[in-house]
Symmetry: C2
Subunit: 370 residues, 2 copies
């Protein structure tokens, strides 16, 4: 078992990573939480496959629990489902010293983390991420949120888990699409922080080879994220780099009404757009000067089964980018690449954004052949 | 103008208190907030009376604003209204650097504060409390919350305002019932922290005399609350004393479905019950040994138009007290008086609580003549 310690003073916690940890969840939770009362928030899809194993482990450790399941998918990240969950916690008479155990992917993590942040103004929670996306990304950082009719993640809180238990064997039952979506975030960490890691990712031939190294890959991503989160827990500085691909990606997800693209697919397209955008501005090295950054990223995304083109008109994205939390009134901040493994933040006006997007649209970037 | 500085490190802020401050709100906000975009959350009752004056002041200070009004009353502190408000903020394209201005009493303050705490994971807010209750109580402490079907204030966050503007002249248009409700909290501060202040409150003959000294009375209460909040921002220790009367009071409010008793009325009855409870335990001096604490409190509450008896059976309260945030599983913590001006926390089991309540019920405490 690998253990990564996230150092955030009184919000510090450990991430345990290994295949087969699910059966030890109860004992691991016992090490950090003395209460005996818990609510499990579970995504119904992994719950059908693994729920009984988690329940056995909790019961063996003497942790009494009630289970609240949610349908898989972004639609569970609503204020209505949040209220149902919170009321379930209250009806179960969970006190301030109770525990919420979140079993699922990013949706369950975001929803459950926000419920834990706000129930009685904050209780402890433990995360057991079941998707690749949540194992590499959502389990570090403490960002929790639900969606509003007018946009994604617009309501939330910073609330760190007390413990994360990452069982990489759970990934075996993910669909190829979900696995690929998680790989988009893996590729993101490599692209913004670590060129060697990026290069190593080009060497895996298929999902089976990736699965063999998964404890290492997950650890590596969490460790890269740890460095910026420890520096900038509240996301006011360097942590913004983690948003590479996300400003465009969220716009694509919103336009697709969270149905058409899963998060990782939006991020994949968003990263490519950000590279093309930087190249258009002359801030990211052009592919034509013997430094095929766009092509290298496109090839790696395609090798991982991720989309690299969309038929959503690029100009449609502009309007959806101004409400992003990274935006400040008329200015928009975008994460661009200076090189593979080196990211920076660029600030530009909405008009400038629109003008560059128009050029990219004319060049049919991500919208067909180049 | 009196100014009280609340020192909570990076969450520090000022409370300005005086008659007529409403017309200076825009200029006072300008001193602490550089943005020019704001949303006003307003309780419709004071808004009809004072809204145009606030709007004029904001406009003169160059603060662009949109207004979201809510019906008066506890029913606005729901997750459904919260979502409407948050979506209004998003549709108005309020960014992370935008401001929420809350104009109203405790309901608007709790709802608006929680919206500010969670919109984009936290934005600034300014409070302009319009009721006596909110001027003396809700404006210090940073507790924000909404209600769930199963209980009051079960969802919330700690989020301090950036500024509080308290115009005591706004109290002139409160109903007698609401004014009395606020006086319950004033009496609470005196009862738990300051015997001299308690004695001075017995000298006012009527509302007019109280109104003349209102800037001082509000300042005094905020200052008493400031001392414990600065010590214990997160409410894990001494701040619990502020809950005097509230554990019983919330139970009464819940049973009355937030219709029968306004908050201050629940607190008034709750304080009397807490004194009787302490006397029954032998921890609060008995009235019979020449120290008429129960009677002194009862007289002051009655003089201020507050209820001192209820026909809700006392045993009904027991079940509603276990889900209170101050409760920890089977234990219940109650704030009791050692004397006027001196409060302490007592911890007892639910069974013990029930037994004492049964005795109080038999003695018809607060349920008719003693």
């Amino acid at each position: 078992m690998k253990t990564l310690h996230i150092n955030l003073q009184e919000h510090s916690y450990d991430i345990h990573i290994d295949g087969g940890l699910l059966d030890h969840a109860g004992a691991l939770i016992r090490q950090i939480h003395s209460g005996s009362q818990a609510i499990v928030l579970a995504d119904e899809t992994p719950w059908k496959l693994y729920g009984s194993r988690l329940e056995t482990s909790l019961t063996q450790a003497g942790i009494k629990h009630s289970v609240f399941t949610i349908p898989s998918g972004e639609s569970s990240k609503s204020m209505a489902v949040l209220e149902e969950l919170l009321d379930f916690m209250a009806v179960s008479k969970l006190t301030r010293s109770g525990l919420l155990i979140v079993f699922g992917g990013g949706v369950a993590g975001d929803l459950g983390g926000f419920a834990a942040a706000t129930y009685m103004r904050g209780i402890d929670f433990v995360q057991i991420p079941t998707t690749l996306l949540s194992q590499v990304d959502s389990s570090v950082g403490g960002k929790t949120a639900v969606n509003l009719p007018s946009g994604k993640n617009l309501v939330g809180a910073f609330h760190q888990p007390r413990l994360v238990i990452t069982d990489t064997e759970l990934l075996a039952t993910l669909s190829d699409r979900e696995f690929s979506g998680g790989m988009a975030e893996v590729i993101k960490y490599a692209a913004i922080f670590d060129r060697d890691f990026f290069d190593s990712l080009t060497e895996y031939q298929n999902r089976r080879e990736l699965m063999e190294e998964m404890p290492y890959i997950v650890y590596k991503c969490c460790d890269l994220k740890r460095i910026v989160v420890e520096e900038d827990e509240r996301d006011t500085g360097r942590r913004m780099l983690l948003n590479f691909g996300h400003t465009f990606g969220h716009a694509l997800e919103t336009i697709g009404q969270y149905q058409r693209y899963i998060h990782g697919e939006g991020v994949a397209l968003g990263m490519l757009l950000a590279v093309a955008f930087g190249q258009e501005l002359g801030l990211t090295p052009s592919d034509e000067i013997g430094h095929p950054l766009f092509t290298a990223l496109k090839d790696l995304l395609e090798a991982n089964g991720l989309p690299t083109s969309t038929d959503i008109p690029l100009m449609d994205l502009v309007e959806h980018m101004t409400i992003d939390k990274k935006a400040d009134g008329s200015k928009i901040r975008l994460v661009l690449l200076e090189d593979l493994g080196e990211a920076f933040v660029d600030t530009l006006t909405k008009d400038h954004l629109a003008a560059v997007m128009e050029t990219l649209a004319q060049r049919r970037i991500c919208g067909g052949d180049l």
